[in-house]
Symmetry: D4
Subunit: 249 residues, 8 copies
């Protein structure tokens, strides 16, 4: 981090100790009271800023968007954004909206610059909204995404018919509710890392996705790691990180 | 049931009301205090008597075996029988013992007389003890049993190489711990009923088999029903019932 | 499966390797993007196609129905279909609807061709919707169904008065919420396999049916296997499979 | 309570305020540091003193017994007393011991003086230790106890053959593990209050008795109330209270 | 039961065997399809008929009420009856209604004929609806009821000020949510049986009353048994049973 | 407590025993049927009266407010007060209202008289309502409060930039949902006691705040204790107690 | 923190930037590979160093003790130290040992310098080991501790007889298993902060202390906050912090 | 996969259809009854074979090792291998053993060929065994591993002093029990993917690691995905996959 540079400036006399301390404190975010914006995260983490829309009022989201705009942030993804909130925000910002995935998108999709393709699989039709959250997130972070939906394990021939695509993916995002077995089967068929996303699809003892989460956690395939229930965003984010791995020595 | 016959005997004057009441009460079981033996269950339920060995002292089991012997029962299966209890019982009864499956077996295996074969699958090597409990139970109840072990879904090619056997089974018992996905995959590949047995194989969030149980409960295959964790006996019993279905009009 | 036939066609020169691979991939389902339809499942699994209505938009369901119609599928059961979705679909397809059981039915009920009768029992009046889902499913799959409702174990005389019917059933579907004891009692009274369906009927520590599910799992009757909470469809499907058992050698 | 009497003594001048306060504080128990003995509970609660043996050292139990002896307490029941602790205590006190029920008994069984009989039922043989804890507790508190063991609901004819005894009981203690359905069936057959005791008998998803507890909680019979898992003592105690009801106006 | 009488009638020639069997089957309830009414339960169980209103349609409830009326039942309590259902039923039956306790009451309150008074305590104001369900149930079953509300343990002086009433009760119903400690404290203060009713009052980790249920289950007072969360009816019913204990020899 | 004084008055003859008993019973609260008001708690506990608004009708709250007014209570905090209830109450009492924190406030904020400042931290923007409940509660109880919001641990630099404030707080209230790690990090950075408040912010396996609660319970920082999910009031109350510690010898 | 001082030294030229960075990194702990010792925590947190003994080998603990000795730390508390580990460590360090509380103590107890007394209460005799962990921890951190054991709420008169001591405490640590009601009752009686410690004392549905934890979490007393099950150390630590509050402006 | 090649061989006449089918079935694994060995997985998955040692007998492990040896596999990692099993296996194979991590290692560590370094962090000393399982696994799969242990979040300065190493890692494995906050903090500090491993370190409400698992699942850092409790192997495996990402077009 830049603490070294700051210290050197003190050493050089460019900064006083007080100024340095102030710099350390003031620099990395903008404080708008109810939120502290990581205006430098784009640099530090290599990605666009994301706003988690749930639990924020439209006014708070607008405040954040304005602060970002002032800091030059042009590409923003708002997750878990209800239609009502979108309508209010769209009065002030030119936001595209995916109702299915509850995503608000500011700015254009960047050109893909990852190592390969991210493959998004779903067990059923009902898992598609979560899969779309993952897919769009990955696209907004610079990845090429391939979607294959409704290929649950109770009809293996459907999944097997896409074996080439599966074998060729760089990262797989396996989105499934109910018993969540898709992650294990995909993990066994593929070489690449699999990010498993349990969904709340199901009823009764599916416990809002907890059964799928636990099943994925206990996958007998070793190349599977798991994110939270319905967390399409997290899966897309982590997959993008993996798809942008670089040589570090 | 025979209540009709008993009533008719009262009508005929063959029995007094008191005698009839006594008959209804005394007939169907032998009471040895700590246990009430269904000496007629062989007829009523079409199967040999089973003793659940856990939580009974060797003396109690011996008492039950003796009472059964007096009622002419020659074929008995004792489940969840520890080696220690077996050693004590073997002093008085000529019992075969499977330490792996913790089964004590009195009498010979009957000739198979079911509709077809019962196929027992396991996800891994560690699931074999439970699978053997299921397989031996089914054999003792008059079924031909085929075993295919260690064909978990993370290596689908292993399972798929037995596709003929799977397609040809009358009933499948799918025994698996961890994420329990074997039941769904087998259910999707096969036409026949699948009895899923979750096992306590696993660690951490497998919760002693509860994760596998829940996953099997939420199977996306519709021909799957589930028995308790590690309940190989119940699966073998239910599979045998299904494999002995008859025309009832 | 037909992989053997396909391979033989390659050997015969009837098919090239590429054509064969294509055949394997393309044959078993129709891909309409958000869903992959098992157009051959009727043959492979011996049953009509079922659509799980929850989590699908009316438009998606219509798309699936149209694809099925094109493939000649005339008998379709749509489960968990809300009244709203039904109204939309009924504009284009001549669908019968059971609001109680949330079932949409396309095509007529087939003539029963099973081994015997499937008996559907409920513990209470509130369990009837789930029982109806099971009963109608079984009827649509070619089974004669007998219904006895509100015979919970706290009033045993009610259940016992149907002892003849119970003893004569081929398969029993025991539908109960609260403590779910009906499955154990029915299992003890009957010779045949019992499929237990826990329901979400109850309150407080019934945990939306989980208590009934666990109780059924731990049934002291050995001829009981269990499906998911409120899964009337699965119970009807599995019971139908069992009621259609054939000799397989 | 006697606060009224104490206050009157102050009013009378028999006691000073300080003496009264002292009396209130010192009277109802004897303090031996690690335990505060309710030496007056026999009067206040109408029962003998009980020592919960688990988590106490033999020395602590001896200390309590000595303090009780000094206060004239001759009839003591020690629950959950391991054989090891019993052996140590038996060196100093003439204690009878039931290893099965883990009970240490000081003094003789009193003559029964309740309204009627307490009936103790168990689902299986393995539930007997808990049932014995209940039965002996009730006997030590002045009740006549009838035991009927191994009458689980999967073999209803066994339970029904004791219908007279069931109909004639004053209180029923239903002891069962696994699915715990005995409580509901007994509750439906009987007029009297049923105290249900779930036991930890079972495996897998019986969760150490929690499944039975929940099932009993959700009993469809209204005359059932429940105590903790394996709490035979509590059931015997509560049943005794009910069996000793008196007219209070 | 009357099976003895029926058998004697066969013996006497008053009944044929077929007639007897029919009698056994037909007598104890009226079958209206979706419900089986225990028209004799009033005799057999000593109480009026109760209808559990939840999960039944107004039409079903009306059908049951009509069948009851035909059988001469004049006093009926309908529990968990929503205002909407009440309004529909009130068009045909003269029903009193308690919106707070969601109770519909047909017929007058009987004169109390129990051994003493049933005391209903609540921890807080929010527990009152459940307490009222218990209190009215007990009153409808012939008990004198005393209500003391909002005497939770965090303000012990409030509870202690009613010590006389507590000491004088025949049965106590302790209704509390949150940590449910009221049951233990009341159990310690009183001689009589305590029926604990956990309520769903609370938030966060109160888990809809499960925390209170578990706490009550683990009460350190031995005269406490527990019914389901919010089950005021069950508590009132069980308390009434206890308050109507008779000498049985 | 004053029992000593009362006893002395009896001793002095100022009070008769009956009067004394009456005094003990009548004094500490006002009974308005559905509620028992601790009119002296202000003295005994050193704080203003709080009304828990949930589960009380507006009429009940008004009744309580009136009873308080009659007892001279001028500063009242109503927690979990919905807008609807507020509107009704505001017709009769001059109540300020915070919709975000669902607080109704009667009377003015007292001057801070604590040992130091109470610092309220939140992990995110969505935690602010709970934090405000804590902050306003603490202010109403006489504390100076500092708020720092949206300083979750995934962006440590945000939290670290307030290190001075953290080091200088007397008590910290750490409000966080999701993984609840803020409590541990704050606990490690600060010397003072930390009261952790898990919030229901999150989704999927956050289980309505239970994950945060458990994480906080298992904090590796030793100066952390925890209150219930979303219990901002409790945290503010406990923090105020700590901030008002006095020398007691 | 000292970052300001370090920066000033850079400004003064006393330190170079590199030296400063090194200082920040190296200063606050000693790294012995498997552990990083907070050698300055005594200053920073105002307390002696604590070693959590569970999960560490005796060799690791010795290594840590040696590193501490080298840094001049003379007073160390080792929690959850088994007898076996103690024996090994006692060969090299003069350690006192409390087997009951599993504590190893190096160095003498400091003179109490807190605001008042810390009162440790237990519900039963079995809770004493956890209570001792709390009490000794508090004593080692400079507090006067008063112990009152076995004053559970089922015998309120026992607790009430210590009312003076309770009213006079600065902080109360309420240690209880089973239903954990002691915390609520103590919280209601006392003015001071209560730290509740659930214990794993109990059986069945006590779930190893989780029932007590949840009950304490849902306490209706507002001055209660909770630490982990059996976490006597944490309670003693937090209580000490509270008992050492100072004026901070 | 090679199905295309096999089909082409049939087309060429090199293989008959039967031979081809046989090839598909026999090729990818060796069947030794209780296990099916993926002898080609090294090629297909790019890694050495792993044997999960738990639940396998030493004889079974030896059988698998022998079958592997026959297939030329020279580098094998046996996880969860107890000392007893190791001793037996070491009689026949030259196995290195890490008792701490319960790993048996056959063959030498390969030269690292990943993109960068894998950093393994632990929260405490007790987490080291799981961390070592992860670290050794990663090393055996060709990765350079850096270990930093005992840097839990309650002492942030310890973690921050390694900021350079953290910022420079390619993948981070965060191993922590208790509240598991290390994953979130590391995720916030680093750019790279973080694999979180919850451990069973803790007590009480840590629930054997489930609290840490849930906390990690709900991490507010988006670059965190999670594996099962104590699954060091899975973390090392997945991290290795990520560290060996290649360009795929």
């Amino acid at each position: 981090m830049d603490i070294k540079e700051i210290l050197r400036s003190v050493e050089n006399g460019t900064l006083t100790a007080e100024e340095a301390l102030l710099k350390i404190k003031m620099q990395p975010f903008v404080d708008i009271g109810y939120a502290k914006l990581d205006t430098q995260r784009k640099l530090r983490q290599g990605v666009s800023e994301i706003i988690y829309g749930e639990g924020k009022t439209p006014e708070q989201i607008l405040g954040i968007l304005n602060a970002m705009a002032e800091n030059g942030q042009k590409r923003v993804l708002i997750t878990r954004l209800s239609k009502e909130k979108y309508d209010r925000i769209a009065e002030e910002f030119e936001l595209r909206y995916s109702e299915e995935a509850r995503l608000g998108i500011l700015g254009s999709k960047p050109a893909p610059d990852g190592l390969g393709k991210i493959l998004v699989l779903t067990g059923g039709t009902s898992d598609i909204p979560v899969a779309e959250e993952a897919a769009v997130t990955a696209e907004m972070l610079g990845n090429e995404v391939v979607r294959i939906y409704d290929v649950g394990v109770a009809g293996l021939h459907r999944l097997l018919s896409y074996l080439d695509t599966i074998m060729n993916a760089s990262v797989i995002i396996a989105v499934a509710g109910m018993e969540g077995a898709l992650a294990s089967v995909a993990g066994g068929l593929a070489d690449c890392p699999v990010i498993a996303v349990p969904t709340s699809v199901g009823y009764g003892s599916s416990f809002g996705g907890m059964t799928a989460l636990l099943a994925m956690m206990n996958s007998c395939a070793s190349n599977v790691s798991v994110v939270n229930i319905d967390n399409g965003f997290g899966a897309g984010f982590q997959a993008s990180r993996i798809n942008h791995m670089e040589i570090k020595k």
